[in-house]
Each structure stands twice: as C-alpha cells, then as structure tokens.
C-alpha cells in the first residue's frame, strides 16, 4: 500500500498530539479501577464473586470500556471526519491510496487498545492484587476476537455514516449497548441473569474475558460469536465503505 508508512508516522504524531483524547481513551478505565480499588471493602474477597474481590470481578468490565471507547467511539469519529472533510478524497488524487489512511487508523486504534489494556492489567496487579490473567492463551484469544469484533463494528459505523454527526448518532446507541451489557454501567451481578447472559454474546464478550482472567478457558461458543461478528461486520464495512 503506497504511502502507508509515511501516513502511519504522521497519523501517530497527530494521535499523540491530541493529549485530552489520548488521556481519556487510555487512562479512564485505569482511573475508575483506581477509584474503586481505594475503597477497602471492594478489595475484600467476597462469596458473591466466587471468593474474588469486587475489583478482580469488575476488571474485565473496565477492559470492555477500553475496547468500546476506542473501537466504537474514537475510530468511527476519526474516519467519518476524514471523509467529511475530504481528506480521503484528496488522498485519492495522489499516488497514495486512501486505504493506507484507513489501515493507519486501525493500527493506531489497536495500539490505543493495547496500551489501555496493559495499563489496566498492570495497575490492577501491582496496586490492587488482581492476579494476572490465569489462562493467558484463552485471554489473548478472547481479547483479540473481542477487539476485532468491536473494531469491525466501528468500521461498519464509519462505512455507512455520511457525516461526523451521523457517525456519532449511530455510534452512541452501540456504545451504550456494548457498555451496558459489558457490565460497565452496572456490575453484572446486579443485572438480571438473562441480561447478563446477553452480555456474554455482545462484543467484546465480557464473560470470555472474565473466564480467562480468573482461570477457566473461555467457552468456544462465546469466542465463535465474536469471530462471526468480526467477519460479518468487517466484510460489510469493506463492501459499504465510501471514500467520499
């Protein structure tokens, strides 16, 4: 893809230059974790959570926050803005392909998600004694598939929304649904069981993350659903994407 390397370098620079967005996307989940972790009662093992602390139980939902903010909020907004302002169209008149800009944004979204997740896991471990994921391979798989499903949904929003406003309007309900079912608004043990079960299948698949974090391997069905969402949404986005 002609121009990809140069575009990635510039886009990364722009990404780092936008401090407020950078801090809020990468830092917020860890900030919430820290606030909760400072409450002693939430660091006590509790039978409600199979003998884990609330902080351990809630950490996967904070991971959901990281993924959703970048995948469903930031990515479509940036791409829709680039299209609306004619950045993609201008690129199409040069020897570089606008797909190079799309790819660069995906790489940056992934980097943002990884940074946010790593920060969360490390702070949870060091400050609040949350164990590192006990089933690393399963965790990596659940993380990768959940991320792919969310990024694909974000791309689909960017593909069909003509303007930045439309992208925000489409992304908002998606954002709330994935956050709600991911247990980010209300901890899942407070949700009716069937609602929590729905959350097993909404991206990024919080139950698979929780399972792998606390020790059992994630259920194949949970992972398979994420893969299907990623492929279907990704393919639709590729088919529907408008460059102008």
């Amino acid at each position: 893809m002609h121009g990809f390397r140069q575009i990635l370098r510039i886009e990364a620079r722009l990404y780092l230059r936008d401090r407020p967005t950078l801090l809020s996307t990468i830092g917020v989940p860890t900030l919430i974790l820290t606030v909760l972790g400072l409450i002693p009662a939430l660091r006590e093992p509790d039978p409600t959570f199979d003998g884990q602390t609330f902080v351990s139980y809630f950490a996967p939902s904070l991971l959901v926050v990281s993924l959703v903010v970048v995948g469903v909020n930031t990515l479509p907004a940036v791409l829709a803005t680039y299209r609306e302002r004619g950045v993609l169209r201008r690129l199409a008149t040069t020897p570089a392909h606008p797909a190079a800009l799309l790819a660069a944004q995906l790489v940056l979204a992934l980097a943002g998600i990884l940074a946010s997740a790593l920060l969360l896991i490390v702070v949870a471990r060091l400050a609040f004694g949350v164990p590192l994921p006990r089933h690393p391979l399963g965790f990596a798989l659940a993380f990768v598939l959940g991320t792919a499903a969310l990024l694909a949904l974000g791309l689909l929003v960017a593909a069909v929304a003509r303007t930045t406003k439309a992208a925000q309007a489409l992304a908002a309900p998606l954002f709330m649904v994935t956050m709600f079912f991911g247990g980010a608004y209300l901890p899942r043990f407070l949700l009716p069981d069937f609602v929590a079960r729905i959350g097993d299948y909404t991206p990024p698949g919080v139950q698979a993350l929780l399972d792998a974090w606390t020790g059992t391997s994630p259920q194949p069905l949970h992972l398979a659903i994420m893969a299907v969402i990623a492929v279907v949404a990704g393919a639709s986005a590729a088919k529907l994407f408008r460059w102008e």
Partner: protein, 302 residues
C-alpha cells in the same frame, strides 16, 4: 498536441444527467477555464479527467493515457486541488507538504514550495489556525508538490477576500510560467477573464461555447455603449448614419450611442469633424459576465 482530450463525455448519477455531451481539448502550457452555472457539470467533467469518476460514455485521454487504466501513472503526473477538501486540524503546514511530497517519485522541495507560496512563517502552524487564504495556498501547494505536468484546480478562490484572490491569481500565473498546464474550474468571470487563455462554457451538461475570453465576448456580446455630454447640440442623424452605430438615445443631457466594431473611432471622428467636444466620455464594453448571461440565460452565481 493537446494534453487533455475529452470527447463526447457522458455521466449520469441515477436519473440525473450531470454531463450530457462534453468535448474539449486542452493544449500544453495554457490556462484552460471551465465555466458554467452551479450544477452545470463542471466538477463532474474534471473529476472524470482526474480519474476520480468513471464516465458512462465518451472518451477521456490525459497525457495520452487513460485516467482509469493508467491511474497510477497519471497520479504521479497530474496534481489535483478539489473543492472543499481540508486537512486534519492538528497537521502542520510543513508536515502536510512533506507527507504529500513523499508519495511522489520526483517531488518538489517542500521547503522551497512553502516559501514560494508565502507560507514560510506558517510552516509550523497547524491547519486549524490558518486563515482561509493560507489554507487555500496550502491546498494549491499540495496539488503542486508532486511537480505535476498538469494541475487541475477546482473553485480556486471561492471564499477568499479580494486581496487573497488577487494574490492567488498571481501565483497561478507563476505556476503556468514554469510550464505547468492548468485546468481551472470557476464561476468567477473576473477570474476567468484575468487568467484563462481559453475557456469552455458548460451549461446543462454541454459545452455551449469554447474560445478565448476576449473572443467569446466579441462574438457573443459584441455591443459597446458610448456615453458623453456634447459641448454643442448635435443632430442624432450624424450618428445614426454611421454603419457601426445601431442605436442612439438620450438620457438628460447625455447621449448614449450603442454600436459594434470600431464604433468609438467612428463616433469621435464625426464629433471632431463638427468641432463638438465629448465631455465625460465613457465606453462600456461587454464583459465575460455579459457573454455568460447571453450563453446560459443566467447570472454567474457569486
């Protein structure tokens, strides 16, 4: 040998016929204007030339190549400045030019181009903080940074204040003098009159006239009007007898003579012979604006 040849171009969007039948040829080294009312098909025509749209019919050849089949080659050799295309807010002037320069095999020196376009003091300014004129100049710089043989510039000076507009015109003339062929899409008649060697007027998807601006005016709207205040009474017949004069009438103490060709010379000669002095003499010639109205039946949208 034309560098751009468009023959019987057709382009529809659903039921809307954007370009019905457009044929034109652009010669190397000229500034070629594409004029027309809004929605006439100007932008669609140049987008087909730039390879951004696929024509439904007819042919387009640019530098002897096909804009679709040879897109990769042409993108190296044709610079395009599109209507209303912006850059990311936080991108700085020098970064934008260096990035775009890196796409081309044989780019211009970004730093030199920045100076040439008068953006030297703004090289580290982010796009968001540039004025309208500066954004426009940056946009032109991006279209030129690949050292193109042809530059296509769409609505170059829309939204600029008169001073910035004049500065931009000067810049375009410099670019042409360096050997670049320029296709200029515009609805400013003053701009076309000042810059273009030849213009094509497009209306409802068709070329309705193609000539130099002066040629267009003299064939489409040849009438000239002379106003003066005679120093002594004058018989209308002295003037109406002249073959160049088509009409004489008076408004107050003013005589208004309408005619064609060398009417000014004919009228002043008659007056001199009768020792009449023409006070407050004014000659009103048609402009491209008048020609445009004649051709399209519409005022240019300003």
């Amino acid at each position: 040998m034309p560098v751009i040849e468009v023959t019987h171009l057709k382009k529809r969007y659903g039921d809307l016929v954007a370009v019905d039948d457009v044929s034109l040829a652009v010669e190397a080294g000229e500034i070629f204007g594409v004029l027309g009312p809004n929605g006439a098909g100007k932008t669609t025509t140049v987008e087909c030339v730039a390879g951004l749209r696929v024509p439904d019919g007819g042919g387009v050849s640019v530098l002897g190549l096909d804009p679709r089949r040879d897109a990769a080659q042409l993108r190296q050799r044709v610079g395009v400045q599109l209507q209303e295309s912006q850059l990311p807010d936080r991108l700085r002037v020098a970064e934008a030019l260096e990035l775009y320069a890196s796409f081309y095999r044989n780019p211009a020196d970004p730093a030199a181009l920045i100076d040439k376009l008068g953006l030297g003091e703004k090289r580290n300014t982010s796009y968001k903080k540039l004025s309208g004129g500066q954004k426009q100049r940056l946009s032109i710089a991006l279209a030129l940074v690949g050292n193109p043989e042809i530059a296509i510039l769409d609505e170059l000076t829309t939204g600029l204040d008169p001073q910035a507009r004049r500065d931009t015109w000067g810049l375009i003339e410099q670019v042409r003098d360096s050997g670049v062929t320029i296709v200029l899409v515009t609805h400013f008649m003053e701009e076309a009159e000042r810059l273009c060697d030849r213009v094509a007027v497009i209306d409802r998807g068709r070329v309705v006239a193609l000539d130099s601006p002066a040629g267009l005016v003299s064939t489409v709207a040849p009438e000239q009007r002379i106003r003066f205040r005679p120093s002594a009474p004058i018989d209308d017949r002295l003037l109406t007898d002249l073959p160049e004069v088509t009409d004489v009438h008076r408004t107050g103490s003013q005589v208004v003579v309408t005619g064609t060709g060398e009417v000014l010379h004919a009228v002043t000669s008659v007056l001199a012979r009768h020792q009449i002095v023409a006070a407050d003499l004014r000659l009103e010639q048609s402009t491209l604006d008048d020609a445009f109205v004649e051709l399209t039946g519409r005022r240019p949208a300003n």
